[in-house]
Symmetry: C2
Subunit: 344 residues, 2 copies
């Protein structure tokens, strides 16, 4: 005898049994079967057992779609639209969201935009058609007005990492400026003046915040020797590596580096590998093994970020109608060696 198969289903797919069929087999009415299977009161012990037996026999499974339609066309799904789940930052956020939602019986549905604003919009539309209860977005596009109508019609939005532009909505943001300022001050306090800043796309709000914070620290210290070493719009690991290599050939070279996200830090680490007199380095975003490599970072808690976003969403779902809230996730400089190297 062979094992039951899950593979060849397409061959014999005689449509799933419905509640009506269960009721017929059990010799009761549709509604009684419904009551029995939903553990509602007012079902005789024996009747309930008969219904459950019939359901088992038929391999019946409740049709959640029909139920949702009848109950008001709103699912237990919460959508997350983000740039790239393969980035550990986003996946940590997603896992924080998922865990918190589950506490409330909600389910996370994810979609990647690959940082494409048009795809983002299409995915948002798709989620709304699916009647998600709330929508969490790490926006790539810059204008979000198109979401406003939705918000007014019962689908709460929560923005993550980047603030909403063009509408009021809940958001969970990182203290970008504060973290970057702290990084700048940290390097200054270790004697650095020629500090290179390697940043991602400057049009993104978090990157702007980090740039601003860094500049504040420099201005406050009356240092402007960093300016020749500013490099923005470096968007991938490879470009980051090249950029850092180029910076090191300058004369004089920078004595320190500040990279404004985990991808750029990875690129910098590659460029610095085996370098005899590596400049000091601080990276924004903590990462696995930073302790092993000894990389000083501006750390924050992405799982907490997801959790807070899920909480905001849940509050709205539960009927909270107050003004939009913004939660700021704090940052902290974690010294591990690379950021404490003195200027050469």
């Amino acid at each position: 005898m062979s094992a039951p198969r899950a593979a060849g289903e397409a061959v014999d797919n005689p449509r799933r049994p419905t509640l009506t069929q269960v009721a017929e087999l059990a010799g009761v009415s549709l509604k009684t079967a419904s009551r029995a299977l939903n553990d509602e009161p007012n079902v005789a012990e024996a009747t309930g057992a008969r219904v459950r037996q019939a359901a088992d026999l038929l391999g019946y499974r409740l049709n959640g779609i029909a139920r949702e339609l009848r109950r008001g066309a709103t699912s237990a799904l919460v959508g997350l639209v983000s740039g790239d789940l393969a980035n550990p930052f986003y996946s940590a956020v997603a896992s924080g969201i998922e865990r918190e939602l589950r506490q409330h019986g909600l389910q996370l549905v994810t979609a990647n935009t690959d940082e494409d604003a048009e795809l983002e919009r299409a995915l948002v539309e798709a989620f709304l058609e699916r009647r998600v209860r709330a929508l969490l977005v790490v926006p790539s596009g810059d204008r979000h007005e198109y979401l406003a109508i939705e918000g007014n019609r019962g689908v709460p939005f929560v923005f993550l990492d980047r603030p909403p532009d063009g509408l009021e909505a809940d958001a969970v943001l990182i203290d970008n400026a504060g973290g970057a300022r702290a990084a700048g001050e940290h390097l200054l306090s270790h004697g650095h003046r020629r500090i290179a800043l390697v940043a991602d796309l400057a049009r993104m709000a978090p990157q702007r915040g980090r740039l601003d914070g860094f500049v504040q620290a420099m201005d406050a210290a009356g240092n402007d020797q960093w300016r020749p070493y500013l490099r923005t719009d470096v968007h991938d690991v490879h470009r980051a590596e090249e950029t850092v290599r180029e910076l090191l050939t300058r004369d004089p070279p920078p004595t320190a580096l500040f990279t404004t996200n985990n991808r750029l830090t990875t690129g910098a680490l590659r460029a610095l590998r085996g370098h005899p007199a590596a400049p000091a380095l601080i990276g924004f975003d903590d990462f696995d093994l930073a302790d092993v490599i000894g990389t000083t970072v501006v750390a924050h808690d992405p799982v907490a970020m997801g959790r807070e976003a899920a909480r905001l969403a849940h509050r709205r779902i539960s009927g909270f109608g107050g003004p939009a809230q913004t939660v700021i996730i704090p940052t902290e400089v974690v010294a591990r060696g690379s950021g404490e190297r003195a200027p050469a």
Copy 2:
């Protein structure tokens, strides 16, 4: 004038407009409105325009739930039930799945089990009630018979990383034994005999495969000096770190280490940090910055794994009824230094 708000939706949620209302406003029948909005043929230019205008005015959005119910109670959703999305291995797999599904207009829904077999079962049930088109599972529990009925009723299953037990179903697995054998041979060829093996829960199939492959390599070389250094059921980073520290205090100590997944490798790297005469190290699973740290690994492609799984699922959804297939993802030893250190 203030920005449109997305926050206070709960206050005024007058139920979403329906197609009937759009039709009324446009002065056409329900069906005509449906045709116009779905770009079906046989709609006069002017009529279509009027309908679309009415829809915009009302802020109408199609109710995907009603559509799905009518079209056969099956969604465009594909479920993924996995252990822990925060683990970069799983999130890479998820991103491979997501990308491939999107090619076919399918949407990924994810849920984490935290490696809990009961939660896994509950989540699978929940997905089935939601009428997912296919279900991808990285199973934590060991018996999967309970899925068999579903498989016969039109919901294809694909198992990832761990083979199905108790039913026939498509699967995508890593060449665990082959990779581990290659790692063993690699260390042997560099002169190692006292090789420590640090493994995760031995009841998990991938771990067993890796153990077996390693043992095969040792047996083939007639080496059994590794046996005193076998440590299994090491399940988290912290325990891995402790275990490696303990191993290093043995007399004589092992001259090489093989860690059988990314978590254990991380723990080993922490234990080895700053060690004057670190043993050679090979880790199963590649990871970010392994190149920077110089860690030799048994690499494989988790994104490809996700992609293959999504392809199998899509084939089944499209009606393929052949026997269950298993795709094996190949592995490769990537030498980066740590695995090539000679015995002390």
